[in-house]
Symmetry: C2
Subunit: 712 residues, 2 copies
């Protein structure tokens, strides 16, 4: 029954996605345009779509090599000495590839529809804002529903294959394989987020510095070879990157819960599948919510988006009560502790609530409606330096309340259902993922639509309307970021707990430790290995941030060179005769992005492996805790500083404190540029860092236990 329901809901998600896809593509690309406009629009739209494909092709080639190589590493290093019948490592490697492919697919679908929806939003905005809103929302919905549907489908398939097709499998192996699936999704997320982040910021800076500054042509001018890369960048970073990231979050937090369920509920199918069901149920709930909210006037756009989040959260809170009562037994035992189904529900609820709290706090700190951003804008009166100081201080300060909200949720869930509770709380944050992703993907579609309106040269009213859509999306995107960071922290903590429990179980099977070995009780703060590794784990996020921030700079330099070359070598480019090689710029940005992300990628993938191999499980535990704690702070601070600088600039551009072109505006632009890599590259990548190192350690726990601790 539960299995059938999950299958039905997963397919429902895919059908909904397909339906919205159809609704978007049914709109003629050049709806109501005259021939000349239509030609221009098709050229531009084609260039963006072509550019996005060029990026995907390049990226997938790199990723294919990486995934195959890493799958081999998994197959070889993960030993199955406890399970003579089944090749644990090989199954894990296959699950890893499966997770990676689904992650790639999610990003691909999202990008495909986003590049189809952007121009259609533009032409619909010529009629009225309500039409444009619907097109942009439907485009976003394709990604939202497809991604969640694919995630739940993938998870249930893995579960069935392992449990039904190979019924002799041990729970430890099942746990390992499920974690492999999450690792696959998360690894792709790392590449997509970091690469996408570097890509979009490199294109942004390249287009601005050569086009606007050196050649004096306006923003979004089709003669600028990097202008398409810039628009592609929005899709690459904000759609594909974010999609892979949140697919990773969803897969990982479900994995974290499943891994614990695999031991606690091995005989109770319903309870076992509960974590997958949470995400699956989010699909119809999101659909209902989407149908409930309509927009008729401009004023309704921003409240509508917030309403979507609130209503879906409310419905989820009610529906999940019944689901929990149905699927989770009245009382159950994990590691000797007794928990109740009501307790599990409160875990879910605390996650949902603290997710909302973090989201709304993020909005408070980054929206120009409130004092923090207005203070930053005011600090521009005394120049760029005070703007930077106030922005950094705001970012630092803005970590406190979200951390308290998350800490409360951690404490409550832990007390109510241990590590299982933490995993459920993180699913609570991600329960409304389909709708949250819809809104997140809606933003870049609206953003692109504005760019296209400008490039085609449509009426200013069109741009004004898309700007309203875009700016409403920015605010809600901030809320979404809050959810993502909160969920990442909770997921990592649950995975951390799963890693320790799993390692302890594996160690207990070894004669040198014995069946009563208390690994978890030995991870004390006053142990030299734990403290030193905690201490060193704390610098990892800082090193990773430094690397990605500098990468943006290096990639931007490459782009500048390429744009200059095209202006120099293509005849008639400035007169609009010669067609700029858009794909070339996209390829340059892609190559630079992929090259620059190797070092941070290797750092994240290899550090846990090296630490575990050289210093053993205890050191990995300390390192994970250290980087989890500082990674979360740095992620929130980076995102919020960046968001606040961005909106302080927009606040000034809206005519406050001297407006566009004033000294205040120049100071604000400096802040915005500093914030770009922080909020779009290093900040969001830190989410992945903490989740990825945790799930990587979980997958490689057998390796650490059997062969690790070489130097200790």
């Amino acid at each position: 029954m539960a299995i059938a329901l999950i299958f039905i809901l997963s397919f429902l998600g895919l059908v909904i996605a397909f339906y919205f896809m159809k609704k978007v593509t049914d709109i003629p690309l050049d709806l109501g345009l005259d021939t000349e406009e239509s030609g221009r629009l098709k050229t531009i739209h084609g260039a963006i779509a072509e550019g996005a494909m060029a990026f995907l092709k390049q990226q997938y080639k790199y990723l294919a090599y990486f995934m195959i190589g890493f799958a081999i590493v998994i197959a070889v290093l993960i030993d199955d000495q406890h399970t003579p019948d089944v090749r644990e490592g090989i199954f894990t490697a296959i699950a890893f590839l499966f997770g990676a492919i689904i992650s790639i697919l999610s990003g691909y679908i999202g990008m495909k529809v986003a590049t189809a929806g952007n121009a259609r939003t533009t032409v619909s905005a010529r009629n009225n804002i309500a039409d444009a809103f619907v097109v942009a929302m439907n485009s976003g919905a394709v990604m939202g529903f497809a991604l969640v549907g694919l995630a739940t489908l993938g998870l249930i398939v893995i579960y069935l294959v392992m449990n039904v097709v190979l019924p002799e499998v041990e729970n430890n192996v099942l746990m390992e394989v499920i974690a492999g699936f999450g690792l696959g999704g998360s690894s792709i997320a790392l590449f997509a987020r970091v690469g996408g982040g570097i890509f979009t910021k490199a294109a942004d800076v390249g287009a601005d510095l050569v086009g606007k500054v050196e050649k004096g042509i306006p923003e979004d001018d089709p003669r600028n070879p990097a202008v398409i890369a810039d628009n592609v960048g929005d899709n690459v970073g904000d759609v594909a990157g974010m999609g892979a990231d949140l697919f990773g979050s969803c897969a990982e937090s479900t994995c974290a819960a499943l891994v614990i369920s695999a031991i606690a509920f091995s005989a109770d199918l319903n309870a076992m599948l509960y974590p997958i069901m949470i995400s699956a149920v989010g699909i119809p709930v999101s659909l209902v919510t989407k149908m409930l909210v309509r927009v008729h006037t401009e004023e309704q756009v921003a409240p509508a988006l917030k309403k979507l989040l609130m209503i879906s959260s409310g419905i989820m809170a009610v529906v999940l009560y019944f689901i929990t009562m149905w699927m989770i037994p009245d009382s159950f035992e994990i590691n000797g502790e007794i928990y109740s189904n009501m307790g599990v529900y409160w875990c879910f609820f605390s996650g949902l609530l603290s997710g909302l709290a973090v989201g709304l706090l993020t909005e408070y700190y980054t929206s120009d409606q409130y004092k923090p951003v207005q203070d930053i804008a005011k600090s521009c009166e005394t120049g760029a330096a005070t703007n930077i100081i106030f922005g950094l201080a705001l970012g630092y300060k803005s970590t406190v309340l979200p951390y308290i909200a998350i800490a409360i949720s951690i404490f409550v869930s832990w007390e109510l259902a241990g590590m299982y509770g933490i995993a459920i709380a993180s699913l609570g944050m991600l329960g409304t993922l389909a709708i949250a992703l819809t809104i997140d993907a809606y933003g870049p579609v609206a953003d692109n639509a504005g760019g296209i309106a400008e490039m085609v040269g449509l009426d200013k009213e069109v741009r004004r309307r898309t700007d309203i859509l875009d700016s409403a999306g920015n605010t809600t995107a901030a809320i979404g970021k809050g959810f993502a960071i909160g969920a990442a922290i909770l997921t990592s903590l649950a995975l951390f707990g799963a890693f320790l429990t799993h390692s302890q179980n594996l160690m207990r099977e070894l004669p040198e430790f014995g069946a009563n070995y208390d690994l978890i009780g030995s991870i004390t703060l006053l142990d030299p290995v734990v403290f030193v590794s905690l201490f060193l784990g704390a610098v990892l996020p800082f090193l990773f941030s430094a690397m990605t921030m500098k990468s943006v700079g290096a990639a931007a330099f490459d782009m500048i060179e390429e744009v200059r070359r095209q202006f120099r070598e293509i005849p008639g480019i400035m007169e609009g005769q010669g067609r700029p090689q858009y794909a070339q710029c996209v390829a340059i940005s892609t190559q630079a992005a992929l090259r620059e992300m190797i070092a941070p990628g290797v750092l994240i993938m290899c550090t846990p492996l090296a630490v575990g191999f050289l210093f053993g499980v205890t050191a990995v535990a300390g390192m994970l805790a250290g980087s989890l704690v500082t990674g979360g702070v740095l992620a929130i601070a980076s995102s919020n500083s960046g968001g606040a600088w961005d909106n302080a600039k927009k606040y000034i551009e809206a005519g406050n404190l001297g407006g566009k072109g004033s000294e205040e505006h120049k100071a604000a632009v400096v802040g915005d540029t500093v914030g770009d890599p922080l909020k779009d590259t290093s900040g969001p990548s830190l989410n992945i860092l903490i989740k990825l190192s945790a799930i990587l350690s979980l997958v490689f726990a057998p390796f650490f236990v059997n062969y690790g601790g070489l130097l200790i």
Copy 2:
């Protein structure tokens, strides 16, 4: 014998300080000046000295209230239920006041001689650079030797009073009282560092923005009412603030070692006094080093300072071998572990070595001789934004190697002699404190000397010479900062260990825990209270940084108002007729600084108390570990980003990349201004944050154990 030797060496320190003081003040203030120059110099010199006194008066008034209030809190809250004969709380409160007074005294002496030495360095620089070097060094030496002499004298007096005068005292009480002494020193350090940091940056910005920008008068012009405050600021922040800070470090790391010794070596007087002896022996070693190094030419200045550090470290390494063999028994036991005297020596040595390593790494990342700063300077070619991004990235990245160096020292010391080893390692970093402080205080004296030369209008050659002295001091100051951060981390860790051991001992006396209660073994990472408090402890340093950074802004605004008022209201001020009210500006800066530092001060002093009272000892442990780990990273990153921006600006001003007045220079100035509060206010204050919260918890451990954990 050991007691007598410590007394002799302490008095030697004071005698040396007095000798150098005499040597400095014997030089006529207006050596070789004509009557007119002499008059101007005396006016300016008097104004700086007067300003410094005005600051001290204001500050001491505030501090007196605070110290008395907090002493009462200590006396009331620290219960003596285990020691019916002795009022533990009252003794601790007295020790607290004693530590505070010595700390104030150290800062006072340092500032007194620095304001006497500055003008004498100026006039000596008219002869030749060697004379000026000697005067500036001697001024610094007064503070260096006086401070170490006072610290060791204070510690030995506390020990004797408690042990000889009140021989019935328990070791637990002795430990408590010694910690109270450290807490007193550290609390003053907090106020001196934060207040001084805010003062100096407020005066700096105020003088620049109104004087240079609004009134168009040159830098260091005596008509600017804030110019004296600016010069006072150098003394307040870099002499008094740093002196109190390092007195705190020295007192605290000695306390940490003594607290452990009080239990381990209660019957072995020599071993008990070993930690005090390390600092005491540093006095003659520093003196010998100082006599060995001479400067004759300009080129010798910078190498001479580095030589001082290297030679004193070398001599200490040799001398301490014999001291350790003499004072520490061949083998001894702490908490059931057996350690050796050779092991203790290696702890000392590893601290010394890693201190040097951190110092040299700091130099590498912040000196314009090396690639990192040159890269930052180059990034100014593309504007202020890239300068900020590269500078932030450099700061983040520069935390990795120092953390590894410190981690190795932690691990080695821990393995060789447990927490006692960590405390000895931190004393290893601070062993050459007298000479390190001499160099640190030499810097602002040389800096002031340059300002005075400019204001009096002496020959440009004088300013050129003081600039050479100043710039050599900057590099060595960076090395000194590295030592300070490293020592703060090790000290805090040792205090953290002492806090847990002390709490465990106190708990074992309570019937509800019993004699075998294993508190330390229960502080595991997979405990909800530990993890949540670790998690929340991690944001404390970020909040503290945000508060101090914004305080600099607020204080600067006050200063701007006051300077504008004086220009408006004092007749003839612009013509040089009306004398500006320098003391008024100093008072404004003082008041603003003291007002602005209340909030961060309360945060640091109250958070551990509140956490312990509400959530108990376990929560305090998690919080301390969390803020220790992130506080260290943030301190290094802030100091190094700030130092690198400062030197990138100077590198450009030296004629590279366009030189003074170029676009690159403007971009570099933005970075420098952003770096100011980071490197001179929030960064160094974080050192104190981590030490202070640890020692505060140690002192209040009886309170937490007896009355804490209200909500858990």
